[in-house]
């Protein structure tokens, strides 16, 4: 028998439109209705966020009470019967929608969210045919100051999801409501642009916005132009998390692994070489695990070592934790390593002038658009190592524009010499994956043997902070590597504070190795992934990632034959001078506010 005392959750018996249903205590009427097969429309509420009843479209009535309540912020009460749809309620919702529409631009056809807009979908459901009020559309300036997201406050419906995500999930505080009443708008603090604010470009605001008020910067046209230029040698890489989410845009379940079809689609779009970021994830592990062993086993450098593959985390660290710069792994992200290898190793090997190579990256991320130009180190080949970084959503649009029937594509293979990957590379897409991959290789580097069981379950799962350790045998003894994995930027504060406190008090470090991913669930739910990421979707995509790892013949980065070749033919060994020049970077102290 388990000694754990489970906290008993009381069950509440209620009715939804007369239908009996039992739900846990503390459930909102909105959620309870869904359990009784009834969908109440909602706009501001989101499963990731605490509901705050901003839009008012989810009103319902408690039987016997004349007034309506917002079902997202009202919890169920034992014995009550909730009326979710009656003529009065439906008309009230219609009025809410009409009022929202009265200051929302009517240019759906030109909107980036055309077809994926939650407001548009509701208007379709309600059969909206016009607004009976005077239109009052504000003309507010567009903020396109970052390379990652565009803020168009004119389209904002004031739901507040972006601000809640930015403040609560990400602890970034770039966005907040300014002013009041009909002057209310979403913006950084004061009259500054996003690029001058603490914004880390994670794009979670764009992933949560129900309308077209915040969207990714669309660079598909730029890529089309390169593809149409016969002078250019087009090379593309796809990130780990893209393969388990892109399928959703073409009718697949979240988590379906569509790697082979993505390769095929990219060739049909006109790319000359299709490479895989999973391979450079293996390369990242070679560098980062070596760095860890140097610091941990040989005492060269600061501990804990902190991972640096997430560009939003890098930006956050440079702004909020710049005193921890010496702890940061200097290894570039897999995307940047691949970019560098494309324009140096591959260019040299295939005798192509690197100035004609256009290197495109398909990423689950909006911050990657910022990362490709974050410092001079991103031009290790002498040119931009990555010319354009597209999000998964942008790639889906390109595939649709090209008339490619994605589901009918055959499964193809990636190209040599930068296409072979291991299971360790693929798990970079899930929270804990970098830690697990790095430990698989660090274990081998320290002990000379592989882990008996390569799965490190304690690094996996959706807990915001995961703390565990791995014991590595050395010369008849065992040394313990203590690690922490944090995802969802707001979860990092506690981990960093523990480290700072231990250092200040001269105590033993709580961790030797820390992985941080800005987005909840890791890259599978990055700001550039298909819309609709919730924990349910995140878990399905993560399951797809581990499935890809499980069925890989090779599951440790150091065993990747393509990576071994790169070291043999080009780089020498991990942390060599050449590796440092091409695969490592520097960090800067950046102010929270430029203005």
């Amino acid at each position: 028998m388990s000694t754990n005392v489970m906290k008993e959750t009381k069950t509440v018996n209620i009715k939804v439109n007369g239908k009996s249903v039992a739900v846990p205590e503390g459930t909102s009427i909105l959620k309870a209705a869904r359990l009784a097969d009834t969908k109440i429309p909602s706009l501001c509420t989101h499963p990731d966020l605490k509901s705050w009843g901003a839009c008012g479209i989810c009103v319902v009535r408690v039987e016997g009470s004349p007034k309506m309540v917002r079902s997202c912020t009202t919890n169920v009460v034992e014995g009550q019967n909730y009326i979710t749809h009656d003529p009065d309620i439906v008309e009230t919702r219609r009025t809410v929608l009409e009022l929202i529409m009265s200051n929302h631009p009517n240019d759906c056809l030109n909107c980036p969210r055309n077809g994926s807009c939650e407001l548009q979908a509701l208007c379709a459901e309600f059969g909206m045919r016009g607004v009976p009020f005077e239109m009052g559309i504000r003309d507010l300036p567009i903020d396109d100051s970052t390379p990652s997201v565009i803020l168009n406050p004119t389209k904002c419906i004031g739901c507040g999801r972006c601000a809640l995500v930015c403040q609560q999930m990400q602890d970034v505080w770039a966005l907040e409501f300014l002013n009041r009443g009909d002057q209310t708008r979403i913006a950084p603090a004061g009259d500054v642009k996003l690029a001058e604010s603490p914004c880390i470009k994670c794009g979670q605001c764009s992933a949560h916005c129900p309308v077209g008020a915040i969207t990714e910067v669309d660079e598909t046209r730029k890529v089309w132009n390169f593809l149409r230029d016969p002078e250019k040698h087009m090379v593309v890489q796809i990130a780990p998390a893209v393969r388990v989410a892109l399928g959703e845009e073409f009718g697949y379940e979240p988590g379906t692994v569509v790697t082979g079809k993505v390769y095929a689609a990219l060739r049909r779009l006109g790319f000359d070489r299709v490479f895989d970021t999973n391979l450079s994830a293996d390369l990242t592990i070679m560098e980062e695990a070596s760095e860890f062993v140097e610091r941990f086993a040989h005492g060269h450098g600061e501990l804990p070592l902190v991972t640096s593959c997430c560009p939003s985390w890098v930006d956050y660290m440079e702004k909020y934790y710049s005193d921890m710069i010496p702890n940061f792994s200097t290894a570039k992200s897999p995307m940047m390593m691949m970019g560098s290898m494309i324009k140096t190793y591959y260019a040299q090997k295939s005798n192509i002038d690197k100035k004609n190579i256009v290197s495109v990256a398909i990423m689950p991320c909006t911050a990657k658009k910022y990362e490709i130009q974050r410092s001079e180190d991103m031009k290790s080949s002498g040119y931009l190592d990555v010319d354009v970084s597209l999000t998964t959503r942008e790639l889906a649009r390109m595939i649709k524009q090209a008339g490619i029937c994605f589901k009918d594509l055959p499964d193809e293979e990636a190209d040599s010499p930068l296409g072979t990957y291991t299971g360790a590379g693929t798990i970079f897409g899930a929270t804990g994956g970098v830690m697990e991959a790095a430990l698989r290789t660090a274990y081998n580097m320290v002990s000379g043997q592989n882990l008996g069981k390569v799965e490190i379950e304690s690094a996996r799962g959706m807990d915001g902070v995961k703390v565990a350790s791995v014991k590595i045998p050395v010369g008849g003894k065992e040394i313990e590597v203590k690690f922490a994995v944090a995802h969802g930027m707001a979860n990092v504060r506690d981990v960093m504070n523990q480290v700072k406190q231990a250092k200040a008090e001269g105590k033993e470090l709580p961790f030797h190795f820390i992985e941080v991913m800005a987005c909840r669930g890791g890259c599978v739910a990055g700001g550039g992934q298909p819309y609709g990421s919730t924990d349910e979707v995140r878990q399905k995509r993560i399951a797809g990632i581990y499935k890809d790892d499980n069925r890989s013949a090779i599951r440790c980065s150091h065993e990747n034959p393509a990576v071994q070749n790169i070291y043999k033919e080009f780089l020498g060994k991990p942390l060599s001078e050449k590796s440092h020049e091409l695969l490592h970077t520097h960090y800067f102290v950046r102010p929270l506010y430029v203005k």
């Binding site: 300014l178 002013n179 603090a189 520097h586 102290v589």
Partner: protein, 164 residues
């Protein structure tokens, strides 16, 4: 490893009294409005550099502070003129022609509500009731109350302050 820095933010001096006030309120719940009032008292408005400094002192994100100071009309984001002209537009003053005073000030000074003259001498602000409706319409110039203001007398009133 080399650590490079970007330019530091504009610095601003806080008086010892202000610092001790902030220290006193720092950890108390609901301190934000309190501290903001005191900050505005010190500077006459809320200079951005001062708000950034205060944000760091009380460990409240700047975005949250801007949410508050742009919500409440009491807080001023721009430096007022040496003599702030508050024109009452409360019910009584409004009916007695408060709006005409604002109009005449615009003619005389070339500035509207919430603006400051180029020489920094005057600023105009619309307020709701200064508590002496019997004197409507009322304007307060540099803290001095003027009752039953006739727009034609405004040049005379302004002249009083120009020479100071």
């Amino acid at each position: 490893m080399s650590v490079q820095t970007l330019p530091a933010q504009e610095s601003v001096e806080f008086s010892p009294a202000l610092v001790s006030f902030i220290e006193e309120w720092k950890d108390k719940p609901g301190n934000l409005i309190m501290v903001l009032h005191r900050l505005q008292e010190e500077f006459g408005y809320l200079p951005r550099a001062a708000v950034i400094k205060m944000s760091q002192m009380i460990d409240v994100p700047l975005a949250k502070i801007y949410g508050v100071i742009t919500f409440y009309h009491f807080f001023k984001l721009n430096r007022p003129g040496k003599f702030n002209i508050q024109v009452c537009l409360g019910t009584a003053c409004y009916l007695k022609g408060g709006q005409d005073i604002i109009q005449e000030l615009e003619n005389l000074l070339g500035i509207g509500v919430n603006q400051v003259t180029d020489d920094g001498l005057f600023s105009v602000e619309a307020v709701r009731c200064v508590g002496c409706c019997g004197l409507a319409p009322v304007a307060v110039v540099g803290g001095e109350v003027f009752g039953k203001v006739d727009p034609e007398k405004l040049p005379e009133i302004l002249a009083k302050f120009k020479g100071v």
